[in-house]
Every structure is written in C-alpha cells, then in structure tokens.
Symmetry: C2
Subunit: 757 residues, 2 copies
Amino acid sequence: MKINYHFLIATITILLLGSSCNEMDSTIEPNSMEDQHPGLVLTSSGLKKIKSNLGNIPVFDRSLAIAKQQLDQEIENGIEVPIPKDYSGGYTHERHKKNYRMMQNAGLLYQILGDEKYADYVKKMLFAYAELYPSLPKHPQTRSYARGKLFWQCLNDSNWLVYTSQAYDCVYNYLSKEEREVLETNLFRPFADYISLENPQFFNRVHNHSTWGNVAVGMIALVLDDDILLQRALNGIKADHLSSDMKDNDGGYIRTKGQKVGFLANLDEPFSPDGYYTEGPYYQRYAMYPFMIFAQALQNKKPELKIFQHKDSVLIKAVDALINLSDQDGEFFLLNDAQKGMSYHAPSLVAAVDIGYHFGGNNPSLLSIAEKQNLVTLDDAGVAVALNIKAGKAQPFVKKSIELSDGPKGEQGAVSVIRSGDLELVYKYTAHGLSHGHYDKLSFSLFDQGDEVIQDYGLARFVNIEQKGGGNYLKENKTWAKQTVAHNTVVQDQQSHFSGTYELGSKNHSEKYITDFENKEVQVVSAVEENAYPGTRLQRTFAIIKDEAQKNPFVLDITQVQSTKEHQFDMPLYYLGQPMKTSFTYDKFKTPKILGSSNGYQHLYQEAKAHLEGSNFQFSWLSNGKFYTYTAINSESDELLFNRIGANDPEYNLRNEPGLMLRKKNVKDALFVSIIESHGTYSPVSELAVNANSFIENIKVIHNSNEYTLIQIEDKKARQKVFAISNLNNRKDAQHQLKVGEKTYSWEGPFALKPNN
Amino acid sequence: MKINYHFLIATITILLLGSSCNEMDSTIEPNSMEDQHPGLVLTSSGLKKIKSNLGNIPVFDRSLAIAKQQLDQEIENGIEVPIPKDYSGGYTHERHKKNYRMMQNAGLLYQILGDEKYADYVKKMLFAYAELYPSLPKHPQTRSYARGKLFWQCLNDSNWLVYTSQAYDCVYNYLSKEEREVLETNLFRPFADYISLENPQFFNRVHNHSTWGNVAVGMIALVLDDDILLQRALNGIKADHLSSDMKDNDGGYIRTKGQKVGFLANLDEPFSPDGYYTEGPYYQRYAMYPFMIFAQALQNKKPELKIFQHKDSVLIKAVDALINLSDQDGEFFLLNDAQKGMSYHAPSLVAAVDIGYHFGGNNPSLLSIAEKQNLVTLDDAGVAVALNIKAGKAQPFVKKSIELSDGPKGEQGAVSVIRSGDLELVYKYTAHGLSHGHYDKLSFSLFDQGDEVIQDYGLARFVNIEQKGGGNYLKENKTWAKQTVAHNTVVQDQQSHFSGTYELGSKNHSEKYITDFENKEVQVVSAVEENAYPGTRLQRTFAIIKDEAQKNPFVLDITQVQSTKEHQFDMPLYYLGQPMKTSFTYDKFKTPKILGSSNGYQHLYQEAKAHLEGSNFQFSWLSNGKFYTYTAINSESDELLFNRIGANDPEYNLRNEPGLMLRKKNVKDALFVSIIESHGTYSPVSELAVNANSFIENIKVIHNSNEYTLIQIEDKKARQKVFAISNLNNRKDAQHQLKVGEKTYSWEGPFALKPNN
C-alpha cells in the first residue's frame, strides 16, 4: 500500500492545532493552497471532532455506515461515465447523478476514514469526466431553454458541479499539482464557464435554477481560490445581453428589467424576511441545498461575508419556515408546482437542518427534526448535530399557527398555516411564485393528522420517472394543475385568475387583512384579492373554531365576491375520499359530461348534479378512517356539481380524483359561506363508526354588507354562535355595533365569535 | 360499603385450592350452583394466576387498563337501555352493542379487581334489560329474514347474549337467588327461546349467523347449567318445519335437505379439515369468536366433550389457517364478501389467538401474533399468553406458501396462498362459500409488501356506517361485487359463472390439479373449473418464478379455455395505481362508455381502447411507490379495454378504481398467458426511480394442446426459459417428452422450468 503523505500531513496539522483550533477556524491564514483543503464543508476542526468521536455518535455513525455501504458497492461495480443521452429517469441521467453523489461521499469518506481507495475513486472518476467533457456537444435532448452537456439541462449540470466541487476539495491534496491542472483546465473551468458565460439565460436570473448555477460556480471558485469566479457566482455576469421578454420552458420570464442577479440577488429576492421562498416549499426544499451548502462553504472560507447574517439571518429563518410548512408527518404543503410526498426527510433538508443548527445559533428544536430524519451530513455540521443529540439537547419542534410573508420585503401577501387540534389549514394569499406559480389566489388546502382532506392537486409531473414525459413537466401541468379551477378558490366566468397569464400574475399579489392566532378558540386569517379579475374584489376569511362542546375544531370559510358586473362564480372543493351522505338528492348522469373547453375545465368531468333546496346543504365523506362534512349556505338558484378530474387526459397523466363545485350564475355579488368539520372516525378493524354525523345544524347569514358580515352557526344541540367580521376596518381597538332586526351586536376589533342564545 | 360475601367466599375457595388447582380444574365436582361461577372463560385457576401476577404481566396489564378506562368512563356516563329503533350505525344499535361489551368487561373486572361497582353496573344494566325485554315486539326495521328484538336481526341479538352470558356468569354469585330468577325468567330464557325456537330459519342453519345463535343459547345454557338448552345449542331444534327453498336476505338458502344443524354441525360443515371456513377469512374472523369462546366454555364446563379435539382439532387449525390468510400487515385476503382492512388485530382474533394458544398445545408462534396484537383477553387464555410472552417464549409466525382445502371433507377445491419474496398471490378454486360467496372461480389477487396490487374488490358495503344503507349490504354488492366480471378471472359472453345463481354455484366447486411449493424458484398451483360455464373447461395455472437474475419474483399466469362452441372471453385485471407506460397506442374516449347492461358490466365504464399489434403487449403502472408491469400474449384480433368501476352507481356506493380487460371474441378455445412483475421502486422523497422498466422482453407460446402447454419467457438480457406443463397428467413421476420444431423438450412431473438457450 502506498503511503499517503498528504493524509499524514493533514493529520499532523490537526494534531498540532489541538484543542484551540475551534476558535482559530476563521482566523488562521493558510500557508499554501494545500493547507486550505478540505475547507468547504469539512474543516480541520470538524474533522478532528469526527475522528475523536467516531463509533460513539449514533446518528453520525449510522449515516456514515449507510454512505459507506452504498459507496463500497459502487466502487465494486466500477466506474461508468457514459455519453449523455437521456432525460431524467433514463440511464445516462441517473448514472451521472449517482456519480456526483458517490464522488461527494467518497471525498468525505477519504477524509474521515483515511482510506485511499476513496480518493482514488474520485480521482479516476474525475479523470474520466475530464476526458469526456471537452468533446461533449450540447445534450441531445432539446426540451430545455438551457441545455446542459452531461444532462439535458444546465440545472443538472450545476447539481453535478455543486457536489463534485466538494469531492474535489476533499481529494485536492491527494492529487499532484499536474493532475489538478489537467482537471481544472479540461473540466472544472470550462464546466463553470459553460453554465454561466455560455448560458446567461440560465445563470443570470432569480430562480432556483440560477441559484444552483451560481452555487456551482461559487463552490468551484472557493476550491480554486478564484476570486473573479467567486464574484461571478455572487453577483452574476456583468453584461449578458438578454432580452427582457425571454422565457424559460416552464413559461416563466427569464428576468425583469434591471433585476439584480447572482447568488446574493437570489438570496435577497425570492426569500421574504420571514424566510418564505416565493416558489413554495417544494422548490424551497430543492433550493435550500445549494443555499445552505454554499453559505457553509462561504462561512468557512470567507467568514468576512457573514453570509448567515445576511438579510437579518434569512437563511436560518428559511430553515424554520420550511419545517413549519410541513404537515404532522413532515410532508410539505402543496403550494405552486409541488410533488406530493416530499418531506423534511429529503437529503437536502438533512443538510439544511444540520447547517441551520450549526451556523444558526444551535436551536435545540432543530435537533428533534434531525432525530426524526435519523441522518446527518458527514461534515462539520453533521457531527455538531450528532454530538448534541447524543448530549440530550434535543427539544421538540412545536408547530404553531404561523404567517409567512412573501416578497423580498415581506410586502407581497403571505401564506398562513392555521393549526388547531389535528387540523392544519394552509391559506395562500402570496405573490405569484415565479415560473412555478399557480393561478390560485386565496386558495386553501386542509390536512388532518397529516392526511390531506381538501387537496391542492400539486403538479402534473412524475419527477424523474422517464416513462412519463421524460420525468419532466407534463402538458397537463399548464392546462390543469396551474389553472384556477384546479384549486379550492373562486373562479369567475370559467377564466383563470389574471387570465392565466404569467405577465399579469407575476405583477400582483393578494393583501393580508387579518391574521390573528392569539385566541386558540377562534383563529382568523382574512385576505383580499383585487387584481385576479379586474373589477371584482375577492375577500376570503378563514376562522378555525374550537368549540368546547366538540372534540375537534372546525373550519368556517367566508368568501365575499363583489363585482361591477354580473358573472358566474364557481367555488370548487377538492375533497379526497368516498361520499357518504348528502342532505339533498342528486342525479348521477349515466356517463359523465365534460365541464368546459379551456382553463382547466376541459379536464373536469361532471358526474352528477344536485337538487338544492332551502338555504343550507350538507355533504359528508369518509377519508382515511375519518368522517368529514361540508355544510354550505346556498340559494335555490345555486348549482352544485359533482366533478371528477381526468377528462381530456389521453395518457393518464392526471389522477382521477373527485371534487364538488358550488356555482352561482349571473350575480354581481356572491357570498360563499361554509363549514368543514372532521367529526368522526371509522376503523375497519373494530368496524366502529364514531360520531359519523355532522354536529352542525345550520349556518345562516345574519347580515352582509360592504362593512360587516355576520354568520350564525347553530349546532345539533340548538346552541347558536355568531361570527362577526368587519370588512373595512381591521384595527384591533375599533368598536363595532350593528343592529339586525331586534338584536344589537357589538364587539371590539376586526372580528368576534359570540354565543347568540 | 356493603360487604360482598360472595366475593369473600370465592376468594377463600381460591386460597384453599392453592397451587394444585391447575390439575384439578376439570375434575373437581362443584358443590352447588354458586361454586360453578365464574366458570365459562374465567376459572378459579385462571383467576388465581391473574391475581398473583397482576401489575407484572405487561400485555395483560395493558389490556386490563384499556378495558378499565373505557368501562369507568361508561359507568360515569350512566346506564342507557334505549327502545330499539335503528339499523347498525344508528344510536340504539350502537348503544346496545356497547352495553354488552361493557357488561362483559364489567363482569371480568369485577372478578379480577374485586370492585363491586363493576358487579353493580352489570346488575343494574341486566335489570334494565329484564324490564324492557318482555314488552318488546320485533325490531321495527324490517330488512332481515330473522328480525331480532334489541337489534334489527337475530344475529345481533345473539351477539348480545354471547357477551352477556359471560357477564352474568361473572356476577352470578353477586346476585341473590331471587334476583337471578327474575333475570332468568324475564330475560335470559325468553331471549334464548326467541333466537332459537321462534326463529328456526335463523337458528337451524349452517351459517355464521346460526353459529352465533347456537353459541348464544349454549353460553347461557352453561351458565344456567341447563342441559336441555345445551342440547338445543349443540344439535339444533329437532323439528323446525322449514321449507327447503327458503332463503335469507343475502340470497343464501336457509338449508339443504337433511342437513344437520346446531353448533356441532356448524363446526363440522363449514370448516375444512385444514381449518378453512368456507365463507372466507372475513367471515371466519367473525365466526371465530363464538366458536372459540364457546369451545373454551365447553372445555371448562364439559371437558368430556373434548371440543378442541373435535374433527382432528379443527378449531386450532382454523386459528392457524386464518393467520395464514392474512398479508404481511396482518390484513385478511379478500375472498367472497369481505371488507378491506380487517385484520388479525380485530378483538375476535385476539380471543382466537389466546384461546388457540391456551387450549391448542401452546404453539409459541401464536405468541408473536399476540405480541403484534398487543392485547389479550381478560381471562384464563389471556393470562396464559401474557405470562408466556413475558417468559420470552414467543417465536416468529413464519407465513409460507399454503394450500387450504375447502369443504367438510376437504374435497371441494381449495384456496392457495403462494408466497415468494414480498409477493403473496391468493388463488381461489374453492366451493361457493355459502350466501357470502362470489361467482369468481379461478380468480386471484396479488399483494406486494402487504400492499394490494391486483385487487379483489371485496364487498359493496360500509359495515356499521349508517349513512350507507344502514351499514348493511348495498344493492351493488349483488349487482357488482359478487359478479364474475368484478374479479380477476375469465368471463364468458358477459355472463357470470353459474349464471350468477346461488342454486348452481353452491352445488359446484373447482378441482385442484397441481400444488407444488417445494422448489422456491418455481412454485406452481393449477386448478380446473368445468361447471362455471357448461360446455367450457377452464384451467388456470399460476407459477411464481424467482429468477436468480432478478431481485423480485414474478407471476406467470396461464389460463386455458376450451369450449364446445364459440364465445367471447374477457379477462379483467384490476390493477391499483396510476398507468405509467404502454407498449401500444390507445385511444382514450372523450367521455367513457358503459360496458354492458347486466352481470356487473353495467357498473364498468370503458375509458379507452388499445391498438394491439404483434404478439405481446406491456402495461406498466405505479402503485404505492412500486413499479409493476403486466406483459401478455395477444393475437391481433384481441381487444384491450381500459375500464373504470362506477357506472350506474347513483349513490357513490362503489370505488372508482381502474381495470384492464383483455377480450377474445368468437373463439372456441382461448389461451391467456401473462406475466406480472414488481420490478422497481419510486420514492417521492429521494425522487429516485429504480428499475422503472420491465425486465421481460417477451413471452411466447411454444406449444399448446390438450396435453401440453409450453411458454417461453425471454428477458431483456436475451435469456430464455421455458415453462412446460402437462395438462392431463399430474403424476410426479411421469416422464414427458415433446418435439417442437427441431427441439425436444423433456421433463419429469407435471411441470418444469428450464433454460432454453
């Protein structure tokens, strides 16, 4: 076995630094390029902690063992660097993806375990790439607005460089100067230039794609200690000559005029001061990895940038925001394009939680999330988390109701998660969310014990499943998933908000009106949207009410529509489950009818129509062993449609799930008022149905004007309560008084819930 | 506080019996009626074991704590004995049901804890019933062929008596002689007479209903020590004057001519010698409770009957059979009418496992099931299980491939569960299964890691959910769930097997041809059905093949149809999941078409039709994070339909799930050959698709005649294997030789799988 002098030197250095190295981390001046490596995610101090505790830090040991087992098997299988050919899900795509992950692990394992076979694996792989890369044309698949070379899009090429830079940092000293020169000249520098200089439409944007591009360039810049390249990463390319109406293949604008670009702009703009990322949690999860890994590397290499303090510590807040945007099982809520099932168990969140903990003030509640993840990163952050879990410092991460503002300055609406009992209601009144945004102002979704009850459809895509359109966005994403009617919100005249145009949508956002979580018996969020349909004002208020007489809280939904002209207003409700009972009769058609021809309506089958009478109707369903009831106010001319998703879906790209739709025709103003209850349970094992029936007797509009809306809720025990809201004055100290018939209602602040009898 | 002399005496008796009581259990002569109580499920020896170990037997302690908590709450709520009014799911039904369960627990807790409040609760409740019962007419709901008094059917009245008898046994000595006389005269004796003498059509049958009836009468007979009543329970009513063409409300015959009745007949007839209960596991689970609880009581009170040895220990075998008829999660396979999700976690199975363990030779693998149940009965059996779990005696219950014969003598076909890797294939070639039977000869279902992949629909019913037809069978159970086309088996000319008539179906059964689980690389079950369609012979062979080159086993399905006339043959396949990829093009209709007008076809929508070319087609889908492919042989004239359940379902009683259907028109003979693979995985968290594509290149019929069928399977690596089966000779030592073209195939035994290249 060849003696690894580099490794010996590194070990000796660590030993010499001794116990004081912790404080010295950010101040020692490196003597040579060799001394600086590794330095991105592993530092000498971190390495020392790892080595002295190895075998004695359960979560870290487990994570290392998993990585080692996978890697050893890959090393045994041998190195494969195929000519690029496939979309995601295909062999060459998945192989190159696996390669960069394996290189990253091999680099870390070489440093941690000192076994040269890992360094050698990285070296051989890198040389295979250095041989292949110079001859590569653009990737043969042409769908992307920014085609990569190893992959079909620059995005994935950037992924490759983000991971591979870390591997290169770890084996830097294992390679000779000459070897490094070959790699840098033939691979790293041209690779970085390709995804930046040669693809400014990809690199010079504010978008999760560009974040990856910026970070890729930034990471290799840090390894190469190249400040010019680092500036390109941080602040973008100076002159890119891109026209301002250029779009990507998701339909998003490349850039608005005068917009700043580069990593710092990507940090400033899409994150709100609360740490909400405007594309939504699914893409925030994806973007968090490059943000956090680069911030970690910057903190280690350029501590003077104080990157974790940037914008009032927005990256640390973002980790917290992201966890709060997950349900009881840790799965992210669906906002904009988002695949269901993504959760904080994703590797990118493991990194985000670990880095957020280590560089963000050692918040002990993050340790409990790390415990659930049961994985840590194999670096400084990971060992810090593992050691503190072992020391018993973890505290529960308690998710409460939360409002997260949107927009760079937090002035472009917000998203709220109202939590009460086992219910989590997600209410969206944000900005558009860049190219992954949906046209669904004031929409909501509802979760119960982590199960989706009122669903947001998510995206029409099977990520990385090659059989389904190469694993990419399917055309139904645009024709269905992004459209307003695919969401639980008001649709006017069967048109999507902002006519479904990105130009309009991206210029507007909803306005917050009330957010009040103080009283756990009635938590209220209200917001207004005035631009989705010109001439129409939408105000939607959710009150989650915990009544002492009932086990579970329930949702009161009041949507006011005021328009200058007559329109048709549809209110869809995408419940999941099996219909149980209705308070009305309905006709189910022999065969379903297609509901419309555009704006998503072409994807809806109508299966049945209801015969509504009286002023209230109820619809109950069973989902995941729980009984739900939707009680809504109706006029006799209202229509209630039973729909199902799946029309005009020639390739079974959509899920055939149900939905109700309450329709009001030819009205200027409309008031949609409803209650959703989770009132009972059913177990197929005990076969017991508990509280299978709604406890709501009826709901009634007592008063509705521009100024006030008063809703009376009566339960099965004839107890009445009135929810009152002031529609124009949201001051907390305002006094309101209103006479309705013989009764006078008075309250303080923008809303109140009071007994009526 | 009143001193409880009865309790003191009981305690003293136990103390006097000391440690030798165990052997004396079945031999001591009781001195008086008092000494015999409790004696049904709790004996003096069992009570002693419980009391001396209480607080120190985790599973028992936990079970007791749960029962106590529920009961204490109920006692606090007070006693309610309402006038009977509702169907199942409704208030009065659920209340009376809760009452008998609470009385049972109260009786046991009184004996175990010695707290009189429990005895008093039972006493008060019994007197409330004794007051109500004499005045009760038949239950107001009229749907049942045997209306009860407390409940809408005698079945539920019998449930009440089975449980309440145990409670009465436990508080017998707490009551005075006079009190007992009131209860016996006004409640127990008329109650027992009503469900037997006054309802012979319910009591004098072989059916799970009658089992409950027999046991109810038998349990109270044992408490009352009334041998005449006990004889009625064991052997039925002598002369019932029932006509032989009488049917119940499920369409089942009350009885065939000359059929024996009573508990012993119900033990002899529906159970096969392997312990399979002809109605299927869902009803076996339901019936196991009365069978086992009465057997336990008989063993304690009438040990001379040796009930657990009856029919070669069929009850003990039945417990084993039932566990083997569950998937990896313990959920029962769907055979005949059966609600999904029922599992060995049901209370009736807790009792069955505990009693089976205690009275069936202390099989240590039953302890591991009891561990999973994490509950035991609060009696002799339960404490035995808890003590032996604590002693570390549990051993895993290893589920292997198994064949369970059907019919009283095991000569009426069978059901097989073929297990290989994570696959469990359930193949049904049984008798009809009494009134809960489905018309689905040679049908199958498939489970993977406990997830249903190819589904059996189960039943069209929401058990105990009042909103759905009173929680009873819905009309779609007959029009859809029972029909042949609702199952994964051959349908001729859109008619159900046996024309869907119980008269014909119940007279016939399929015939086993091969069952061979010896070689884990190729497990084979083959069966023949000659009566489902007169003039048509169906033979279906499943081979589960574990190929060394692939991680997962796969299913080869060969169905031969030979008829004297031309017919249309349909082969439905009810996959669950989202279509991913097809090897052919297909046209999805703008709106679906209804497939037929009767025999279940009226409930199927056709959504698309395929354009089949060549000789093979593939259809892939994703379900529960796993990729599946169905590869089938086709001729160019075959049709492939994409269907969905849910047409003519005016009240949303059906689940809108998909199915394929391969159709061969105007043929006398048909050969359906297909392979189902579970070949890959997808995680929405890692977003990695692993082995998303089938590894089957094609399948080919090399030879097919009356005598032999040879199928060649070629994989993506061009490796060919041939599966050969002899269709007429199933002798294990038979030598076969067949020349096809230039090649000669030779093998020994009924089948072989051999490389072809």
